[in-house]
Assembly symmetry: C2
Homo-oligomer: 188 residues x 2
Amino acid sequence: MRVLGIDPGLSRCGVGVVDGQGPRAGVVSAGVVRTPASDAPARRLVALHTELTALVARCRPDAVAVERLFFNANVRTAMGVGQAAGVALLCGAQAGVDVVEYTPTQVKAAVTGDGGADKAKVGYMVRALLGLTDVPRPPDAADALALALCHLQRARLATGDGAPSRRLADAAATARPGAQVVRRGRPA
Amino acid sequence: MRVLGIDPGLSRCGVGVVDGQGPRAGVVSAGVVRTPASDAPARRLVALHTELTALVARCRPDAVAVERLFFNANVRTAMGVGQAAGVALLCGAQAGVDVVEYTPTQVKAAVTGDGGADKAKVGYMVRALLGLTDVPRPPDAADALALALCHLQRARLATGDGAPSRRLADAAATARPGAQVVRRGRPA
C-alpha cells in the first residue's frame, strides 16, 4: 500500500510518500512544497493545487493522509493552514483516492506510542521505521512521512495484519535537506 | 462590474452575484451551495469546487470576494469553514479572476456604515441597496451579496467613482427562500 502524507501549509506544505507491505515500509518521496509569501493567497493555493495534483498523479498513492488542524493553535497562520488543508483534501478526492484526516495526537501515538511526543521523538521514530540514515528534513517533510506511516499502521490494524513496523535494511534512502519533493523508486 | 461574493462553509456556502455600474447595482444570482453532512469532508470539498467552478464559468464575474475568517469564532465548525474558504479562493484564481478577502467587519462597515452591525441590519441594507422587495434568504445568501457589494464599493472608491449606492427601481428581483443558486438576468 502506498500512502501520501500531507502536512498542510501555505509557506511550507510537507509531503511524504511511503510504500508498505505488511510491516515493511520505505520512502518513495519526501519534501516540501513552498509558495512565495509575496503572492496573493488565492494564487498560492492554485500553485499548491497544481503541485499536489501532479504529485498524486506521479506517485499514484492508494490513500492520502492529511493533518487535521486545531485552529486555536496559532490564529495568525491558522487561516492559511486551513485553506491549504482544504486544497490538499480536494486534490486527493479529485484523483479518486481515499482521503483521511488524522490529528497530531493520533500521528504521534501511531509513530512513537506516545500522543504527547515532541517533534524530535517523532523525527527519530520516522527515521527508524523507514530505515533512513538521518531524520528527514525539513521537519514538515518528517511530519508528512509520520502522517503516511500513521495511515499505514491503521490500515494494517484494520486488515488484521497488525505486526509492528520494523526498520528495513533495504530502505536505506535518506531524505535530502531542503529537498523540493524528492522522488525515489519503490523499495524492493 | 460583476462581483461574486462567497460566504464559505461546508454545510451552507452562500453565493451572491451583483452587477454594478457606478452607483447602480442589481442582483444577478443569489443562493446557497449545500453539501451533505453524511459525505466525507474531502468529497464535500470536491462538490463545492465543482459547483463554484460552474458558477464562475456561468456568471463570469470580474472579481470574487470571499469572507476572511477568524478561527477563534467557533472551533468546532472552523475547520470545515477554513477548508471551504481555501476551495473558494482556489476556484476564483483558477478561473483567472481577481480574488479578494474581506473581514466581516469590513463588509458590515461597507454595507451599513457600522462595522459592528448585526445580521438584521446587514440584511436590511442589502435589500435596500439592491432594490429588492425582501431581505434575501437564507442569511448565507444575504451575507454573500453583502460581500459582493463591499467589493463593488471598494472598487468604486479605488476608481474615484465614489457616489453612494442608491436603491434601484429597476432591480426589483427578490431572492427566493431556500433557493439553490437562483440565476437571474443582468439588470437593465
